[in-house]
């Protein structure tokens, strides 16, 4: 039997892409074929953008409170389909079912915040800027925006943008990840059910050609992207050339600093294990470099527990409820990560826990699985410490004190997130103040983005000015128009 072929959602209709290129979507835990995703063409993208552009004038004139009501209906449908939405994420990505449910909840939270648009979008005014003259700022939408989505949070990431964009009165096109497109198809089935005017939201399944077509299309006013730094750099440059607004959330190499006074309770260990190995390390907020400060005794005390905890993580199919870590998303990722491990060994780091030695729960093919790996004796100049791995590999670096730890962090090209574990307020304050990263955790392993605060990194982890989510994203999706009035 032929595999199910995904369709695009354009102008309120589910339609076939105009392509003969399809990519097989494989369940990484089971190796089974889930569906085929079309690699949509420029013509498909242009049709989606045209639909969005045509829908824009009426949509921007729809009162914000009415636009918000569509979002309320979407929330209701998502709650009703919570588990089904989550299972699809696990099936196509590999993450555990709890992680998928967490992703679904975070997605819903975005819509909840965006549905407050009648308040969020308000402008401001001042009487008598000169005698008898008033001035006010009106936040207006701009037109068509789009999201080029990543594979690692296939459901949630487009929701960092879509609900805010359409709540502001813009229209939207999502290009799903060619590796994990099913979650977006399921989301759009719900968007279809809430009966938005045709063209307000559109979905195109595809890869590079579709992404380039979005950036080339002059009717697209802004692009949002989450993915790797090299691709992010290209998108930022291209959007600059074509005069589009852009949010590029790029790669990361996050340090987690363990000070000698860190409370090594169970909760701390759990937080660290979740940080380094949650989502099989395929998260831009994952801890990847563990920077341990202190003498040999403190180091050993900490490492014994960390290695023991990591070695006990149950790895297997994420739908198995005993499993704590799923596979990486595809076989190429696994081979790439094995290459990183081999390079680390060649550079002289000590592989304390070798995740290539598989210990899996249940009868699953080994194709995409790795167990957690931990390297010790890593120095800041090694590729293990500098390059994004995007897999379940922890690199342990040592520093003599906090000043040296901060210097090491600053030597890294990325600046997405950094955490410190300590009970010392002065150290915490110094860390928060000095570390050049977009997100700081204090006794928190993952500085998880919340819908009501902006999220974005620094250095090579972010390109743009305004961040996703929170008040920043409202500013991104609107432009303040200044009106100065005088009446005679």
């Amino acid at each position: 039997m032929a595999a199910r072929r995904l369709q695009n959602f354009i102008n309120g209709e589910w339609i076939d892409a105009s392509t003969d290129k399809f990519v097989e979507i494989i369940n990484p835990a089971r190796g089974t074929l889930l569906c085929e995703a079309p690699m949509s063409t420029k013509a498909d993208v242009d049709a989606a953008v045209k639909a969005a552009q045509d829908a824009y004038p009426d949509w921007r004139n729809t009162p914000p409170v009415s636009r918000a009501r569509y979002l309320h209906r979407l929330i209701e449908l998502m709650e009703d389909n919570f588990n089904e939405l989550s299972i699809v994420q696990t099936t196509e990505h590999g993450k555990t079912i709890d992680e998928s449910r967490g992703e679904t909840r975070r997605g819903i939270e975005m819509i909840e915040v965006a549905s407050g648009i009648p308040s969020l979008m308000q402008g401001y005014n001042l009487e008598d800027i000169a005698h008898g003259i008033d001035e006010y700022a009106i936040n207006q939408p701009l037109g068509v925006f789009c999201c080029i989505a990543p594979f690692n949070f296939p459901f949630m990431v487009p929701l960092w943008f879509l609900p805010f964009a359409i709540a502001c009165g813009n229209t939207f096109v999502v290009k799903s990840s060619p590796r994990t497109p099913m979650s977006q198809v399921d989301l759009f089935k719900l968007l279809d059910e809430i009966d938005l005017p045709p063209g307000v939201v559109n979905l195109v399944n595809g890869a590079n050609e579709a992404a380039e077509a979005l950036m080339d299309n002059p009717q697209v006013k802004g692009v949002t992207f989450v993915g790797s730094t090299p691709v992010g750099r290209h998108i930022y440059r291209k959007c600059g050339e074509t005069g589009k607004r852009v949010i590029v959330q790029a790669g990361a190499k996050n340090y987690v600093v363990i000070m000698p006074d860190a409370v090594l309770e169970e909760a701390t260990m759990v937080s660290l294990l979740a940080s380094f190995f949650g989502n099989a390390g395929q998260r831009c907020l994952s801890g990847t470099n563990l920077l341990v400060v202190g003498d040999d005794a403190a180091y050993k005390r900490f490492m014994d527990r960390f290695v023991e905890g990591a070695s006990k993580i149950n790895v297997g199919d994420g739908l198995d409820e005993s499993v704590q870590m799923g596979p990486v998303q595809n076989a190429e990722s696994k081979q790439r990560i094995i290459g990183v491990i081999e390079k680390g060994i060649a550079e002289g780091a000590k592989l304390t826990l070798d995740g290539r030695e598989l210990n899996l729960v249940g009868d699953v093919p080994e194709t995409c699985f790795l167990n957690p790996s931990i390297f010790e004796n890593v120095t800041p100049d090694m590729s293990l410490a500098r390059e994004e791995i995007f897999g379940p590999v922890a690199s342990v670096v040592r520093a003599k004190d906090l000043d040296e730890a901060i210097d090491i962090i600053h030597d890294n090209p990325y600046g997405n997130a950094s955490s410190i574990f300590t009970n010392n307020g002065k150290w915490s304050r110094q860390f928060q103040h000095d570390v050049n990263a977009g997100n700081i955790g204090i006794n928190v392993g993952i500085v998880a983005p919340m819908s009501f605060f902006p999220f974005g990194g620094r250095k090579d982890s972010f390109f743009g000015t305004l961040h996703g989510q929170g008040r920043d994203v409202i500013r991104f999706f609107t432009d303040p128009k200044i009106v100065i009035t005088r009446w005679f």
Partner: protein, 143 residues
């Protein structure tokens, strides 16, 4: 079976609430003096399950850590029988109910203790339901 994850705990919560509810449903009619109590507990169990699931789905974003929150929970420690011997009298039924309630109470208390450092709402609700179970045990003493 060892329980590690929040999802695993949720499935087990459904099992113990449903199994105990079916015990109360099945035997309520056999013991007129226990009937109203058993039938109300049957109904209350489904409320407990619903509340826990609602809370779980509401705070699931904590789950980045909840994959590791229940180390040390083993379902084998909380199994219970829901069959009474034929011709069992009401005191035997009450004793069986007490055993079931004690087992469930111990499960919730242990799960609350293990997850305390990581989550707020779930352990709080587990303790609340454990307290209800304790009250049930006390009320059964009079039978």
């Amino acid at each position: 079976m060892k329980l590690n994850t929040m999802a695993g705990v949720m499935t087990f919560v459904s099992k113990i609430e449903n199994d105990s509810a079916s015990f109360y449903r099945n035997y309520a009619k056999n013991y007129p003096e226990l009937e109203s109590t058993f039938m109300s507990w049957n109904k209350e169990n489904s409320k407990f399950e619903k509340n826990i699931k609602r809370t779980y789905f509401g705070v699931i974003t904590d789950t980045l850590e909840s994959n590791y929150a229940f180390q040390g929970l083993d379902t084998d420690d909380y199994n219970f029988e829901t069959q009474l011997p034929e011709n069992a009298d009401s005191s035997e039924a009450a004793k069986k109910a007490r055993d079931i309630e004690e087992t469930i109470m111990n499960f919730y208390l242990k799960a609350a203790q293990l997850s305390d450092g990581l989550m707020a709402d779930i352990p709080r609700l587990f303790r609340k339901i454990a307290k209800k179970r304790e009250e049930r045990c006390r009320s059964l003493e009079s039978f």
